[in-house]
């Protein structure tokens, strides 16, 4: 059910046969996909599909996982500098004496033990990253006091400062108004092109991503289908993924994934799209 383009060059990231089993339940089963340099990939799936789990697998943080994750053909290690991460939710206490720029700097040297003066080049890099995400105007405010969208930008700057080749963004568009969604997507697209960083971005909704997305990784029922949007978002591929028939409608440049009929027989599992998956 996985359709993949076979590229001559080595992919940046390759996930091979990854299975995550927690307490006897397969959260993800035999997941295979790869990401190439500089590509924008959407990771699409509904609540509980396993998107965050997949990110943790890629970061080497997930336990009870089998299979392999390769970066540049090498098995991943923790503390992989070539992967930047923006988690789904980060709670900051408003009283925390940490400014946006302090958080970004921690992305560069927060893992180092010992006291040493921060080099001037680091301060310059912090300013550069904050500017790249249009966060310069609130760089000196406490992170905990920033709005959700502002924090999102600061977190992207924090992830970019270690100059990763791959940026993982876990639902960065949730809790944003439609205008901000477009703005952040345009910003990420710009950053990915200027800094040559590949992006894997998770979302429930693929429509806002259609203009920028090179490839899609679609998660449902613990399985994954990946490829270009045209390869994956098809009735045959998605029906196989969901385990029952779905239709794909294209209206006004939008894609709607619709369950044709409720499956008969045993009660539908909660993974089945009842109506519209979008």
């Amino acid at each position: 059910m996985t359709s993949q383009l076979h590229e001559a060059s080595q992919p940046l990231l390759e996930v091979r046969g990854a299975t995550v089993n927690i307490d006897g339940r397969d959260i993800l089963r035999d997941v295979n996909f790869s990401i190439n340099h500089g590509e924008f990939t959407g990771l699409i799936g509904s609540n509980g599909a396993g998107k965050t789990t997949l990110f943790r697998v890629i970061l080497g943080l997930q336990r009870q996982v089998t299979g392999s994750v390769l970066v540049h053909g090498e098995p991943i290690t923790r503390a992989n500098r070539s992967i930047g991460y923006v988690p789904q939710k980060v709670l900051f206490d408003p009283d925390l004496p940490i400014r946006a720029r302090d958080l970004v700097a921690l992305g560069a040297d927060g893992h180092r033990y010992g006291l040493s003066r921060r080099p001037r080049a680091l301060h310059a890099a912090v300013d550069e990253m904050l500017d790249a995400v249009d966060a310069g105007s609130f760089a000196d405010r406490r992170v905990g006091g920033l709005s959700g969208g502002e924090q999102q930008r600061v977190l992207v700057a924090h992830a970019l400062i270690s100059r990763p080749e791959l940026l993982l963004l876990d639902e960065p568009l949730a809790n944003l108004d439609p205008g901000s969604v477009e703005e952040i997507i345009a910003l990420l697209h710009r950053v990915s092109q200027r800094q040559r960083v590949a992006i894997l971005l998770s979302a429930h909704e693929m429509n806002p991503l259609l203009p920028v997305m090179d490839r899609v990784v679609y998660v449902a029922n613990g399985h994954v289908a990946s490829g270009t949007t045209d390869e994956v978002v098809r009735p045959s591929v998605l029906s196989a993924l969901y385990g029952h028939h779905v239709d794909v409608l294209r209206v006004h440049g939008r894609v709607l994934v619709v369950a044709t009929a409720l499956p008969v027989g045993p009660a539908p599992s909660d993974q089945h799209p009842e109506f519209v998956v979008e």
């Binding site: 992989n80 925390l96 004496p97 921690l106 992305g107 927060g110 893992h111 010992g114 992170v143």
Partner: protein, 269 residues
Amino acid sequence: MFASFMTNAWLSGTVVALLAGAVGFFVVVRGASFAAHAIPNGAFAGAAGAYLVGMNPLVGLVSFALLSALGIGVTSRRVRNDVATALSLVAMLALGAAFLSASLIYEPTINALLFGEILGVSSAQLWPVLVLGALSVLALGWLYRPLVYTSVAPELARARGVNATLVDVLFLAVVALATALTVPVVGALLTFSLMIGPPAAARVLVARPGLAIALSVALSVLTVWVSIAASYTFNLPIGFFVGVLGASLYLAARVFARRRVSDSVTYRA
């Protein structure tokens, strides 16, 4: 109050204040106040136990403080952090009560352990206090960045390869050392207030981490100096003044910060 027998009081008080101000900053930022309340009670039980078997109380203070920190660290991997801390707290209180009733400690000694005593560190113990104090500060400096990182956003730190569990255990050990040194001066019940009051005030006043630590240390030293002088003058336990000053500092900082915010809002309007 500057008589020669008071030299130790000023010296050890200052060391303790420097340490509590710096360690306390991370206690507050990490939300570990409850642990900072539980560990001194462990130290208290240790001191009582040391009296019981006729050992140097500092040995009892340090070993039991470390033991409660370790207890919290290990149990909190199984149960919720506050539950783990509470378990350690009650276990140590019970031990302390048992040790106290078994030994025939002189009542003023118990009072001093609970509420502090300006002559709490004798000349024989000044050196160990200085050495352990310096050790704690060095450890804190070495841990500084991963400690800030795991305090602010543990998930991000882990993704960047920081061993957050190790950092946490090492930090609790530093809290334990700092506590063991602070208890004889400030008292087991109010060590907690020295570790919370000044840093909590500092963190609402300034937004930069380095500056907030410096301010926390300065406020803590000021608190201890004023408390020593007041305790000497009014012949009341030093812990009383440390507690009152710590809470007042925090309230004053809150009011000040709120006024500053409302001022800036008025300006903008």
